[in-house]
């Protein structure tokens, strides 16, 4: 297969920029697509070319396959990178690219078919001998049928969108009384996010860990894993903090899970970057949860400890190159990623779109910021509230935690509310520091994580706010005399002069 010369990135925000950065380093030209809400977005300026694809709602722009293909043709792109979300796990889009003669940087449509629909994936994995979480394997004809299934396996259950991941269209149902509203919400969110409202039901495992294995395959049948990521710090089934190595994994477990993940990928003739997600219960049994047939948000932690560039590897795999390594590299040191969201943790994580009036990004040793925003940018209302991924590396987990804290303390975003303080509270929590935190951690410790006030700091803030008020009033006073002068006539002779001159 020939070398890729130009890539259209069918995405927006930080992931579009992440992909373009690697393309630029590889000497590959890039084309962006943008909706009406994204004309001012950073990914438009980061690309060499940019094409308009429709109105703000993603269903009318980023999810319209033909518009994306048309833009790629117009740009003369020979490949499309889908990022994550949007069309990244859409097999029909992969086929459309194929039909248009454009390389899709990702797995073949057949692998997506086998894994993308999560219910089918479960069935395939059972067949391949991979352990799965108990749950439904067939779609439900009606709400009643779904509710009946939930009653049968017993609450708590998980509702999950068959069409995609990322916490969208996902709901935990504690009591059957809540089933109907959760079912409706999950279906509606799933429809919005993936254009597919199919939802399935899984038995909810108590206090499970979410551990995933990064896999990679080339077109020549070589499939390896690149170790695990611990993603149990979740809120509303949305990952908030990720790290590698997982603090609960032994080398033996890593090898075993890696082996199963490779088996899962091979079962569907996988190509490119993928992630096999597992739930690990309190007895350290692990169950296949789903496979994400794309790059993950949290891929930087794997890049930190392996020294690999996963986007570059994806491109090389799409060009038909062989994998440059034959086995998982020994993890080197420790990496942590935190996701910076435009949301207000103290107001039930309400999204906080708006204009970023000031931005200061952390720097210094072994700190990486993957961001899609800039000072003066208005975070639009239509898309995911994640504005940046901050990741760090250090030789040990203890040092990585300290470094993350240090980096977060340097992060300043003004104009919108972010979860930066909340992230600091997570990293400072004894359960996180201990390393054995499960997926219930964030919800269970919610109040603690909102933090308590330090009286000394409040007193200093009070001093600061009073000085601020004094300066504000002084500034107002300075502009006031001129105004009052005009009003009261004390402003000097010029009104007189003017009046006289007019006569």
């Amino acid at each position: 297969m020939p070398k890729i010369r130009k890539v259209l990135v069918a995405n927006r925000g930080e992931i579009a920029i992440r992909v373009m950065r690697t393309c630029k380093e590889l000497g590959i030209a890039t084309a962006a697509v943008y909706s009406e809400a994204d004309r001012s977005a950073l990914h438009v300026r980061t690309a060499d070319q940019a094409y308009f694809v429709g109105p703000p709602p993603s269903r009318e722009s980023y999810l319209v396959q033909q518009r994306i293909i048309d833009a790629a043709k117009q740009a003369g792109a020979d490949a499309i990178h889908p990022g994550y979300g949007f069309l990244s796990e859409n097999a029909s889009f992969v086929r459309a690219c194929e039909a248009a003669g454009i390389t899709f940087i990702g797995p073949p449509a057949s692998a997506m078919d086998a894994m993308g629909e999560k219910t089918r994936a479960r069935a395939n994995m059972i067949k391949a001998g991979v352990p799965v979480v108990p749950g439904s394997t067939e779609p439900f004809a009606s709400l009643e049928e779904a509710r009946a299934y939930a009653e049968k396996i017993g609450c708590p259950v998980m509702l999950k969108a068959a069409g995609g991941g990322g916490g969208k269209g996902m709901r935990k149902v504690e009591r059957i009384a809540d089933f109907d509203s959760s079912w409706r919400a999950a279906k509606s969110e799933a429809m919005n996010a993936f254009g597919n409202d199919a939802v399935y039901i899984e038995k909810y495992l108590e206090k499970p860990h979410h551990v995933e294995i990064q896999v990679f395959a080339d077109q020549h049948g070589n499939t390896i894993h690149l170790n695990e990521r611990e993603c149990s710090a979740q809120r509303r089934h949305q990952k908030v903090v990720e790290e590698t190595p997982s603090p609960i994994l032994t080398p033996e477990m890593r090898a075993k899970m890696g082996e199963v993940a490779v088996k899962a990928a091979k079962a569907v003739n996988y190509v490119g970057a993928g992630t096999v997600e597992f739930l690990v219960d309190v007895h350290r049994n692990f169950y296949f949860l789903e496979m994400n047939t794309r790059l993950q948000v949290e891929h930087p932690v794997t890049e930190w400890v392996t020294g690999l560039d996963l986007v570059a590897l994806q491109i090389r795999a799409a060009e038909g190159e062989k994998l440059p390594l034959t086995a998982a590299p020994e993890p080197r040191g420790h990496s942590i990623e935190v996701r910076v969201y435009a949301e207000d943790p103290s107001r039930n994580f309400m999204p906080s779109p708006g204009k970023i009036t000031y931005l200061r990004v952390p720097g210094g040793p072994n700190v990486r910021d993957d961001s899609g925003v800039f000072p003066g940018y208005t975070v639009p209302n239509f898309y995911d509230p994640m504005i940046s991924k901050l990741s760090v590396w250090a030789p040990t987990r203890r040092e990585a935690i300290a470094r993350t804290q240090r980096a977060l303390s340097e992060y300043v975003v003004k104009g919108i509310t972010t979860n930066i303080r909340y992230l600091k509270a997570i990293l400072a929590h004894p359960e996180f520091i201990g390393g054995d935190y499960d997926t219930s951690f964030l919800t269970r410790e919610h109040d603690t994580l909102l933090g308590v006030e330090d009286a000394k700091l409040s007193e200093m803030a009070l001093l600061a706010s009073t000085v601020h008020a004094y300066q504000r009033d002084q500034k107002r006073a300075k502009s006031l005399p001129a105004a009052s002068g005009q009003g009261g006539g004390n402003g000097g002779v010029s009104p007189w002069k003017l009046a006289l001159r007019r006569r």
């Binding site: 509606s188 708006g354 303390s409 200093m460 803030a461 001093l463 009073t466 000085v467």
Partner: protein, 169 residues
Amino acid sequence: MRYFTKQQGQKEAVPVDLEPLGNDQYKVTVNGKTYQVDALMLEHGTMTMLVDGQSYGVEFEENGDEVGVLLRGQVTRFDVADERRLRLRAATAGFSVEGKQLVTAPMPGKVVKVLVKVGDEVKEGQGLVVVEAMKMENELKSPKAGKVTELFAKEGTAVENNAKLVVVE
């Protein structure tokens, strides 16, 4: 110069005496304690403040009468007024919202579902309106048990931050 500084979430404003000494130096007295404050305001609402040798980087965000203060990772909000302004406010403010609760949009977004109609009896915590923003649906709940007396939210319409949605009385 006397200010009244009220921290959000606290009932009473605290009297604070501030004496500018020139050259970014201030003498500030609060709760009977006097501080020597070296405070230089930079651009973009950033201040560098030294108190007793301690150094504080302070970030301000103004929001109406309130100012949010970020200091060593802690955010506190204050409403600071001098006596003149306090009198002015007392004159203009003063209507009571006791008993009547207005539910507003907590962020710009789209009303995707209205779950009640005027005249409905609602329980505390019952869902009233679902607003979607940034691909997440947020169900706004009734702050109290009562009756829906006004309904501004319309399904499918975009709403601005703080837009009135429902009144429960």
